[in-house]
Amino acid sequence: MIDLHHAIVLGVLLFAVGLYGALRTTNAVRILMCIELMLNAVNLNFVSFARLAAVSGTAQAAVPGQVFAIFVMTVAAAEVAVGLAIILQIVRQRGVVHIDRINLLKG
């Protein structure tokens, strides 16, 4: 039987996978994908916890969590738009997306 706790464990695992990927890979687009994975883990957490609050309390208690998830999706879309634009600019300038080869600044 799958219950809410499984959803929360899945959220934690998804977040861990995303974090690992974001820290390990050097491809900027992949890092962005991993960050998206982390954000989806967050959304899963929010709706699961919202459901949990609704089960133990009133249906009203679920609203903030669900609203938060919608805000996260909206803002993440805006963030990705800016991020991809920045990556595109770098690729046009230098033809690389690997952050270990984007290293003019150091010291």
């Binding site: 995303g18 805000f71 996260v72 963030e79 600019q89 600044l105």
Partner: protein, 496 residues
């Protein structure tokens, strides 16, 4: 619902949109109007905030208007003395940055309308962060600031270093946002509410009695929030992006990053953690939080200062210097007392004013073709005596020499640490300040003591000159006004 409480935000948002529209109708030679309109909007918002603050102070008539309970949307957004005081700081930062960037934007052919609108939207996000008392609103303010900042870092489209700065700032910023959000989801899971006040229920975070599972869950969320905001304020070990982003970004934008988003992140940290830390003092303490802040403070200031000693580029050196100052400010959180909170608020003001002064000089020289290496400042006292004197005043303030404002900032933090029985932390702070003299003095020595064949005199443009004059005046004046200002900071901290 009292829309009056958000007039400053509404003015800034409206001005930002107006600048975007105005930009469409301006000819190439009249692009400066965008900056003038932004300055007018920020000034109007500043006046509105001062009026709200004056009305909300205890001796004013409208004490209830800005009381802790008052706010918009069921207390999600509040206009208490803390929020208003910090908003004044943010608006001042916005004014200074726009004044400093007018000539830079023109000479580098940055699109003036976009630039000014982005600064305004970033300031708007910072103001929302200052007034939020709800996780959703904090997140929205944070992202409003951050997304505008990513674009600002990359605005020099022809410069590969600017693009690289933007990419690094974006990737770490987005990662930090994800960590903050995960922390928020755990706090929400623990408390069942997105309101910050839910954390303060008696015994909730004491890990005993009423909350055997949800208390620890919320506490884990808070620890993740510390890590996420550690990225935003560039605390060691989450600081690696800052020197690159600061060096590559356009110089006025670097000035903005070093004070604006950093101060806003500190405002949120104070808003979330100050009440929780004080709660810990009253009994049933989440002891992990003060220890965490103390550790971060020690590591951040030590690493920041030591690495700054080895820097050759002034923007990079100032990045490490700003990391060190974030470390000092965290001392005020680690002590977990009302005095500590007030000291952080005071230090935020002191640091922002002083650092803007330093950057004003850097931008002045940058506009006139001087490079960003510290060796480029050799013999500056001969070429531009005023710039050198202003730089000297600001550097003395950053070191913490009386009567500059920076001295009082460090003094209050020091006293807060001693009074809380954490004298060792105060000693670490003083030793670090002594180390910092090493790299600040390097600039002073280059400016005054090294002879350079006298070059051409370097004059400031009116805008940069005015901004520099105002910040240096503030560095001196706020030092003399430290008593009323610290009173205001205590008042603001008390209402958190």
């Amino acid at each position: 619902m009292d829309w009056n409480l958000v007039t400053p935000e509404l003015i800034v948002a409206g001005t930002g949109l107006a600048v975007l529209v105005l930009d469409l109708f301006l000819s190439e030679e009249r692009r400066r109007s965008a900056a003038y309109l932004s300055l007018a909007g920020l000034l109007a918002a500043l006046v509105a905030s001062v009026r709200l603050l004056a009305a909300g102070l205890p001796d004013g008539s409208g004490a209830a208007a800005a009381g802790p309970g008052a706010g918009l949307w069921g207390g999600m957004l509040v206009a208490d003395p803390f929020a208003l005081l910090v908003k004044l700081l943010f608006l001042g930062i916005g004014l200074a940055v726009i004044m400093l960037s007018v000539d830079f934007v023109e000479s580098r052919r940055i699109a003036a309308g976009e630039y000014n609108a982005l600064v305004l939207f970033s300031v708007l996000g910072m103001m929302i962060m200052a007034g939020s008392r709800d996780l959703i609103v904090i997140y929205l303010g944070l992202e409003t600031t951050a997304i505008a900042s990513y674009v600002l870092a990359g605005l020099l489209r022809g410069d590969a270093r600017s693009g690289e700065a933007a990419l690094k700032y974006f990737l770490t910023g987005a990662l930090a946002s994800a960590v903050i959000l995960f922390g928020m989801s755990l706090v929400f899971g623990g408390t069942g509410s997105t309101s910050l006040t839910a954390l303060l229920a008696p015994g909730f975070l004491g890990l005993s009695g009423a909350a055997p599972v949800s208390g620890p869950l919320a506490l884990a969320g808070l620890v993740l929030l510390v890590a996420g905001f550690g990225f935003k304020i560039a605390a060691v070990p989450f600081h690696f992006w800052a020197p690159d982003a600061y060096e590559g970004a356009p110089t006025p934008v670097t000035a903005f990053f070093s004070v604006g988003p950093k101060a806003a992140a500190f405002a949120v940290v104070l808003r979330v953690f100050a009440p929780v830390l004080l709660l810990g003092q009253a009994g049933g303490p989440p002891a992990v939080l003060p220890v965490l802040f103390a550790g971060l403070a020690v590591v951040t200031m030590t690493v920041g200062n030591l690495v700054a000693l080895t820097q050759k580029n002034i923007k990079r050196m100032l990045a490490y210097s700003s990391i060190a100052h974030a470390g000092y400010m965290m001392v005020g959180l680690a002590v977990a007392t009302p005095q500590g909170t007030a000291a952080v608020i005071y230090y935020l003001l002191a640091y922002a004013v002083t650092n803007l002064g330093v950057f004003a000089v850097v931008i002045w020289l940058n506009n006139r073709g001087t490079g960003d290496e510290i060796s480029d400042y050799t013999g500056l006292a001969g070429r531009a005596p005023l710039a050198a004197a202003a730089m000297l005043v600001c550097l003395l303030s950053l070191i913490g020499i009386p009567p500059m404002v920076g001295f009082f900032g460090k003094f209050y933090l020091f006293m807060a640490a001693v009074e809380a029985g954490m004298a060792w932390l105060a000693v670490v702070m003083v030793v670090n300040s002594a180390v910092s003299v090493g790299y600040y003095y390097g600039i002073v020595r280059n400016m005054y003591l090294q002879d350079e064949p006298a070059g051409e005199a370097v004059r400031a443009t009116p805008m940069v000159g005015t901004a520099l004059g105002l910040t240096v005046a503030a560095v001196l004046a706020l030092g003399f006004l430290s008593e009323p200002l610290s009173h205001l900071a205590r008042l603001a901290g008390g209402g958190l």
